[in-house]
Symmetry: C2
Subunit: 276 residues, 2 copies
């Protein structure tokens, strides 16, 4: 069967499928395959918002920065995505994006797109200097009531979820983990957006206690252009995620996403609400 836009054969393509309503207006639908404990996986919602700009005929360039704020859990089913082109410069474009359900705002955000050209370039951060290959590590088990976790083949080098959730604190909240879409899928800017939200909440790694949490905002900077994504293909990426502060109901987490060729594809950060 052909993989047409109407019947995408990868669950991620269904999660970011958009029905056009008019300029900058789309309908998306939550997918059971990407369900989370309450509402869908935020990464899938973020990716649908990103996709609405990627598919907009007014778009120039590729994403370089994207912020999404999760104002409320989504209900299962349809939601409306709206994009506004705020300004187009010679090589950059500024977008506002948002999602509503039954007329109520469920997400807001902004995106910067740019036409990049070759310049002096240097890496500065470095990937872990040595690591066990993806194929030699066991896949992490799924998470109860979080079907979206099964959509990523996650293999931890360090900092996996606790085996016992007894509240004995770990020394730190850092993880190093291989990640790949399941089934494997060519990486693109939409799936990279989602993947940046696929790191487990740092408080679980550090605190080993299952407290209620929710991401309130996420920002991603894209270092990867289309050529780097094509070179990555559907191979696993290596992620390193950490926290800097857990304080009075909120913690931050930041992560780098490295290609199979040790190139930095994206750096991302988020602020997460927690209770207790």
């Amino acid at each position: 069967m052909m993989n047409t836009e109407e019947t995408p054969d990868h669950p991620f393509d269904r999660a970011i499928a958009l029905e056009a309503l008019g300029e900058g207006r789309w309908v998306a639908r939550t997918q059971a395959a990407y369900a989370n404990m309450i509402g869908p996986f935020g990464g899938a919602t973020a990716a649908a918002l990103m996709q609405s700009v990627l598919r907009d005929p007014r778009r120039i360039g590729i994403p370089v920065a994207f912020t999404v704020n999760f104002a409320s859990p989504l209900a299962d089913g349809a939601y409306e995505v709206g994009t506004s082109l705020m300004r187009t410069n010679r090589t950059t474009q500024h977008w506002s994006v948002g999602a509503t359900q039954s007329g109520a705002v469920v997400a807001t955000g902004t995106a910067v797109f740019a036409m990049r050209r070759q310049t002096w370039s240097r890496p500065e951060a470095q990937p872990p200097s040595s690591f066990v290959p993806f194929d030699r590590l066991p896949r992490a088990p799924g998470v109860r009531r979080a079907p979206w976790v099964d959509r990523y083949d996650m293999r931890y080098l360090t900092g996996g979820l606790p085996s016992v959730w007894d509240g004995t604190e770990a020394a730190d909240a850092t993880s190093c983990v291989w990640l790949r879409d399941d089934p494997p899928r060519q990486l693109d800017h939409a799936s990279l957006t989602a993947l940046c939200d696929a790191f487990m909440p740092r408080i679980y790694v550090r605190r080993r206690l299952a407290v209620p949490i929710g991401t309130v905002t996420m920002t991603t900077y894209f270092h990867a252009d289309d050529d780097m994504l094509a070179a990555q293909g559907d191979r696993p990426v290596l992620g390193v995620a950490r926290a800097s502060s857990f304080r009075n109901g909120y913690f931050d987490q930041s992560a780098e996403v490295w290609s199979a060729d040790r190139q930095l594809l994206a750096s991302t950060c988020q602020l997460v609400y927690y209770r207790e």
Copy 2:
């Protein structure tokens, strides 16, 4: 003379002074004291946007996350600030913010405010373990055609601007620097917003070449509540700033801002355009 809202006596208060036009509509004015090479210091513009939410009678809580996108350099003079309250939850609030000049969009952004309450809390990142005190370091010189730099007393422990701009690359782009408003001023969420943009562009530290640059987007997470800011007072903060990738016209930089008591006040990141 009394320090009234109409005649603030600190230049920063003039830079964030807002004249109310109506609900969510304000006029701000660029200030010569915070001028940059082209248009005003972005941190001052960001702070004025933050201030528009802080002063809004609909506001609940304090800022926890703020993203501002710089769509165009501002012209000197008045600009209009607009805020939209997108959603109010039980303890959080989502805002969209923006600035226009002569009807054209010059900045966009989003803010999350929250009522925080005491929970389990742990630091994770650590400030530099040893450092020379502020009083024992020389103040960094100003920067030609960037008057805003004089509004911060900056004292570098490591990674200052090059003394010779000859393009011989430094080993890395990391700086550790004391920062204080000049004249000293009680730290608040607006001045902390501006301060997060006061780290010199990482490409200057790394590349030692004065290429054209401009911040396109900045995101700040606020770990500090009003009590922590009051405890800090007008003492210097310690900042650590670094980059992770310089690539094809864009680099990212991230920083932590530490209080005089070694508490994390804010973590911030930005994406910066560069030419050549």
